[in-house]
């Protein structure tokens, strides 16, 4: 399941990128900038955890960005209504989880293609977020909540620590629990998994639930970071999360990939955006470069995989 050599390739890619930027600009390789990149990457990295679960199982989740927006406004409005974080946080996580579980149920019990189901949810969750807030952002929160994004432990920004904890937990689930094994098994061969007595439907539903939950966690950090919950937040997050996952070596066919790869993939995206900003590269050119890196990374991965097989 775990192919260290390939993950290593992605890591070498990240390091090479860092070295190139270090040569090109004096502002890149500084402690403050590297922490800055890590902080900026955290939201995409967390959304990409859920995406990795879904893609490993052979699915896709296009609704993550809209779920970020919906759980964000649930969190924001409950906080503004005077509820404590102890109430608002579970509410917002529940909103994300429910959206995910609904996706999963429609995919497994409804037998619909994940692309279609999550495309629908993408629109429904976005519309719900807009309806809920009448299109207006919900802004202004207590510093005790904002510390989740603005706080620091020592010199490390809080979102970096939160991301690390999410990855540790998700890695444990994926690598050391039966649920994790089934994620790979379903993606590898769904029919065989079903025939061996595993409730594929139940586990698939849970997998999409994980994705919804991760989007909600990302929404917590995003809301704290911007001091605002926006119904239009998280647009195109699905594409960033898919990019991080596939750059990290997870196969879109399912059954093959790792979370550490996804983390490196998310960091590659973050470092690239940061580096191009530092270099003052035109925003239009930036989009071209990022797109090219996604394609090249997956191309290298595919070529290596083919070699490994023969």
């Amino acid at each position: 399941m775990i192919v260290p050599a390939r993950q290593f390739g992605t890591l070498v890619g990240l390091l090479a990128l860092c070295v190139i930027l270090w040569i090109l600009t004096p502002y890149f390789m500084t402690v403050s900038n590297l922490l800055n990149v890590a902080e900026q990457t955290s939201i995409n990295a967390i959304v990409a955890v859920g995406m990795t679960f879904v893609i490993l199982s052979g699915g896709i989740d296009l609704s993550v960005g809209s779920i970020v927006a919906l759980s964000g406004v649930v969190l924001g409005t409950s906080l503004q209504a005077g509820h404590s974080l102890a109430v608002a946080l579970p509410l917002s996580l529940a909103a994300g989880l429910l959206c995910g579980l609904a996706n999963g149920a429609l995919v497994s019990w409804g037998g619909l293609p994940p692309f279609i189901v999550t495309l629908g949810t993408m629109s429904i969750a976005r519309g719900a977020a807009l309806l809920f807030t009448e299109g207006r952002p919900v802004s202004g929160f207590d510093p005790s909540f904002r510390v989740l994004a603005t706080g620091r432990v020592g010199f490390v920004p809080a979102p970096v620590i939160e991301t690390t904890m999410v990855y540790a937990a998700a890695h444990f689930v994926l690598a050391h629990t039966t649920f994790g094994r089934y994620v790979y098994a379903i993606g590898g061969n769904e029919e065989a998994t079903r025939l061996s007595g595993v409730s594929v439907r139940f586990h698939k539903t849970m997998i999409y639930g994980v994705s919804g939950l991760m989007s909600a966690l990302a929404a917590v950090i995003l809301t704290a970071r911007l001091n605002s919950a926006q119904p239009i937040a998280g647009m195109m997050y699905e594409l960033d999360a898919i990019a991080a996952t596939v750059i990290g070596g997870t196969s879109l066919m399912g059954g093959d990939g790792t979370l550490s790869g996804t983390l490196v993939g998310a960091l590659i995206m973050g470092v690239l955006r940061n580096g191009l900003n530092l270099l003052g590269v035109s925003s239009f050119l930036q989009q071209i470069v990022i797109g090219a890196v996604i394609v090249v990374a997956v191309l290298i991965d595919t070529v290596l995989k083919r070699k490994n097989r023969t």
Binding site: F8, P26, Y27, N36, G135, S139, G140, N227, S228, L278
Partner: protein, 315 residues
């Protein structure tokens, strides 16, 4: 083998991070750098603003770094850009906020890095900024409320105070669009013959302007005037009017006086547009930034003129 290379790279990277950390503070000896962070660069308004800013920067001998998010509403990306620009040791930040309140978190980072802030075009929410202890040097922009009022007064004049109006709003909750709309509404409030039959957001976009106005026409056959809070939405509405075969029978008033809008005004498919002068905003923003860097004071509010473009004065 691969592992060794990677370890070497990591070691090199780590040692570098220690070396380089100390050398970033030497700005000021060379040309000062001013950052201009725009909402987006895929809108002619901001392209013009960049042109004005660049001309001023060249003239004053400062380096101008222009960056923008891919999409106008992406506050988080704009915040990342601000964070990244701060890392490059900029001496002043000119910014057109994608969100009046949301951007404050990014401005706090600029404040902490002691980078002076010049706000352009869209105001920062005063209360949110005060709560966060953010002080901006100046605001450079047109008064959008006055612009909306200008459009409303013009509509009263040309219709003799009788019209059924549809309004295309900007993104809800954004200061620029809200001010324009309120200016317009306040101007026509005193005319009992003017009824606002529909008011819907079309999020600044041309295609949404088309769709939203098409829907409005479906619901209200008798609409005879449109006020769009931006020309892109107005241009979309003009297409929708053409598709409905009503060209020339519905007055369209827009905002921004984009080139395409001026052409439409000259061609008679559009009634008027409130002109802002984005290149002027860019110029004044950079000039103010340079003044602040030199330790000079700038007024807290710099108004850039507004003008109504109609078929009588369109160029």
């Amino acid at each position: 083998m691969k592992r060794t290379i990677a370890l070497a790279l990591t070691a090199a990277a780590l040692s570098a991070s220690c070396n380089r950390g100390a050398t970033t503070g030497n700005a000021g000896t060379s040309k000062p750098t001013v950052a201009l962070v725009l909402k987006t660069l895929n809108h002619p308004f901001f392209v013009d603003m960049r042109r004005g800013a660049q001309e001023a920067a060249d003239r004053l001998g400062v380096t101008l770094q222009v960056q923008a998010a891919e999409r106008e509403i992406d506050v988080e990306k704009q915040m990342q850009i601000v964070e990244n620009m701060i890392q490059t040791g900029i001496q002043a930040l000119c910014i057109t906020p994608s969100g009046s309140r949301e951007i404050v978190s990014a401005l706090v980072k600029a404040k902490d890095a002691k980078v002076p802030i010049i706000v352009v075009d869209t105001r920062v929410d005063a209360k949110a900024a005060a709560d966060a202890g953010v002080r901006t040097e100046t605001f450079v922009g047109s008064d959008n409320y006055e612009g909306g009022k200008l459009a409303g007064e013009y509509l009263i004049k040309v219709t003799g105070g009788n019209a059924r109006v549809g309004i295309l709003e900007g993104i809800p909750g954004h200061e620029t669009g809200d001010s324009r709309m309120h200016g317009f509404r306040d101007a026509v409030k005193g005319s009992p013959g003017i009824t606002i039959v529909a008011s819907q957001p079309a999020n600044w976009e041309r295609d949404q302007g088309f769709n939203v106005f098409q829907n409005m026409l479906q619901a209200h056959q008798d609409i005879d005037s449109v006020f769009a809070c931006s020309d892109l939405m107005a241009l979309g509405a003009i297409e929708a009017i053409a598709a409905a075969g009503k060209t020339g029978r519905i007055r369209v008033i827009g905002f921004d006086a984009l080139d395409d809008a001026k052409k439409a005004i000259a061609a008679g498919t559009m009634e008027a547009s409130v002109a802002q002068f984005p290149s002027e905003m860019g110029r004044v923003a950079v000039e103010s930034a340079v003044k602040v860097i030199r330790g000079e004071t700038v007024p807290p509010d710099i108004k850039v003129k507004l003008e109504l473009v109609t078929k009588d004065n369109v160029k």
